[in-house]
């Protein structure tokens, strides 16, 4: 059953900019109206963990002063944006959904936070997520799960559940999330919004609390494809503070998304349409593919036979890296320290035991095991070898097609509690998203229909490294067909 009281489509960036420029609304009034809506709905949806009101209102006043002078407005002038709580804002809480960081106030801003504010965005607050971005349902947050605005008995997806739900419920016009194995795309699909996985290195990760460094990416959520493209252009680019950021020039992704798709070659991999795919999800995605054909794309099958090995590779690589990244939470420099510890080793163990939740401990254990003497070659090295084969398989496919389209997730949003008892079943929610994570390629998920119960279905559009423009173009065509219906 869908719940119309929570779902609301945000206005577009173009509409809001025009209103602010014309003076029919102000950035300050807009921010105030969003805080009112958050106050009304957040107790039920649990989307925001903390608000950054003072900073947001000061930024809104700066934008309004520019507008009053008639100065040209930056691309996100006055736009209310929410930030996933794994990205830091100076002086604001940054919990990463974990008890271990309760009370922590980072003394600096993430590069993406600086870039959004330089572009005029008004940052409303920090969004709920699975603990350290580990999860596919948002049920691993130490601060309680986010509810899906479409149906509050269902999960919003994860780990960026708050980021997806905020846009779906119009508690922000756009948001930032992070994606390590599907954490932007799967919740965007579950909540019926647009989510972007940029190419690895396309967006700076300075100020991101790391989960798995060879996989982690920062990307936007928005209510429509063009606005998501505008957001990406603002946050993308090389950053001297992140050595893994790419120096490749940043395209005008919104303009790229305006280009017609006629003549584009679309690949459809049979491996993503097999056992385990919900028939209603399949039907919606197939309708989206038909729309691409009608728009002049050529559609052909592509082979990605290694897809079935992606989840095992992902869970070995990601947990190994997580076990190293999360070693820094030791009760010494920041975050939680256990009170009852007579010596240093006990202090480490007690602090981590009290601070981490069950899934985080499970992944640290698996990663530590896979990296430990005697098992390194059999698990971690083997996974990295298969990772290369998986990446090469995508590179071969992109020699023949411009984009690959798949379902974003095998099902629509599932019920709260449905999969919490079985970690493997939960991991399989990422089966269609982890491949692009491992290969480093980019993608966009766009709503392409709904189940009979009204639950949104997303189509994943994957493109080669640094080819975000193509993914946005194809997503626009799918979106246009939805609007025409």
């Amino acid at each position: 059953m869908t719940d119309e009281t929570y779902v609301q489509k945000p206005k577009t960036l173009a509409e809001l900019r025009a209103e602010i420029a014309a003076g029919t609304t102000s950035a300050a009034d807009l921010a105030a109206s969003y805080y009112d809506r958050i106050a009304a709905l957040n107790p039920r949806l649990n989307v925001y963990l903390s608000l950054t009101k003072e900073r947001a209102l000061a930024q809104a006043e700066r934008v309004d002063a520019l507008a009053a002078k008639g100065d040209p407005l930056p691309p996100l002038a006055g736009i209310p944006v929410g930030i996933k709580d794994v990205l830091v804002m100076r002086g604001a809480p940054a919990t990463a959904g974990s008890k271990i960081l309760e009370g922590y106030r980072p003394p600096y801003d993430a590069t993406v936070v600086e870039k959004l504010e330089a572009a005029g965005a008004v940052l409303l607050g920090k969004l709920n997520c699975d603990e350290f971005a580990m999860g596919s349902s948002n049920e691993n947050s130490a601060y309680g799960p986010v509810r899906n605005p479409v149906d509050i008995e269902r999960v919003p997806g994860g780990s960026s559940g708050g980021s997806a739900a905020a846009v779906a419920a119009n508690l922000a016009v756009a948001t930032l999330g992070t994606d390590t194995g599907g954490s932007i795309r799967q919740p965007a699909s579950f909540c019926g919004v647009v989510g972007v996985l940029p190419t690895y290195g396309r967006v700076s990760r300075y100020g991101l609390i790391a989960f798995a460094s060879s996989l982690d990416r920062v990307g936007p959520f928005a209510g429509n494809v063009r606005d998501a493209a505008t957001l990406l252009a603002v946050i993308a680019g090389s950053d001297p503070k992140d050595a893994t950021s790419s120096k490749a020039p940043v395209a005008d992704y919104a303009a790229e998304s305006d280009r017609p798709v006629e003549g584009l070659r679309i690949g459809v991999p049979a491996e993503y349409f097999g056992k385990g795919l919900d028939p209603e999800v399949r039907a919606a995605v197939e309708k989206g593919i038909k729309a691409l054909k009608a728009a002049g794309c050529s559609v052909k099958p592509v082979n990605l036979p290694l897809t079935k090995y992606a989840i095992p590779v992902y869970y070995l690589v990601a947990t190994a890296e997580a076990s190293a990244n999360l070693a820094r939470f030791d009760g010494v420099r920041y975050g939680h320290r256990s009170a009852a510890s007579g010596n240093l080793n006990a202090m480490y163990s007690n602090s981590r035991d009290e601070g981490f939740g069950a899934e985080v401990k499970r992944r640290i254990m698996l990663g530590t095991y896979a990296l430990s003497a005697g098992y390194y070659d059999a698990y971690y090295l083997k996974a990295q070898q298969v990772r290369r084969l998986l990446a090469e398989e995508f590179l071969r496919a992109f020699a023949d097609v411009d984009a690959v389209v798949t379902p974003t997730a095998p099902t629509a949003a599932f019920k709260l509690g449905e999969k919490t008892g079985d970690p493997l079943a939960m991991y399989l929610a990422d089966i269609y998203t982890v491949t692009a994570s491992l290969a480093g390629i980019c993608g966009v998920t766009v709503p392409c229909g709904a189940t009979a119960a009204g639950l949104p279905v997303g189509m994943q559009i994957l493109a080669a490294h640094l080819n975000e423009g193509t993914a946005f173009r194809v997503a626009r065509a799918v979106e246009a067909a939805q609007i025409q219906e």
Binding site: G201, P240, L316, Q384, A391, G440
Partner: protein
């Protein structure tokens, strides 16, 4: 399900990871690790002899200038007082921790 991991190994790995597990948590962990390792064992179906491990994807698509090192120049970092302010315990100049070595 084959038993790849033993209780002793769970305890050893927990020690390496600085995690303190209750006996109940250890039991769950043993079950979950074995289930997951059983599942990932399907990677052994693939012959990967001679395949160079891929640790980082940037090599697949480098743009001009990627991989160049920045100038090795001094730049200001975060202020000490600001950083220490976030620590559970300090003496104003350093982080403080409980005893590292017990005197016998």
């Amino acid at each position: 399900m084959s038993e790849r991991v033993t209780v002793d190994e769970v305890e050893r790995v927990a020690e390496l990871a600085h995690l303190e597990l209750t006996p109940e948590e250890s039991g769950h962990m043993l079950h979950d690790l074995n289930a997951i390792l059983d599942y990932v064992a399907e990677l052994n179906e693939l012959d990967t002899r001679g395949v160079v491990p891929l640790a980082q994807v940037s090599e697949l698509f480098s743009a001009a200038g990627d991989g160049e090192l920045r100038a090795d120049a001094l730049r200001p970092s975060l202020d000490r007082a600001t950083v220490l302010n976030e620590a559970p315990e300090t003496d104003g100049a350093f982080f403080k921790v409980p005893k590292v070595i017990e005197r016998q």
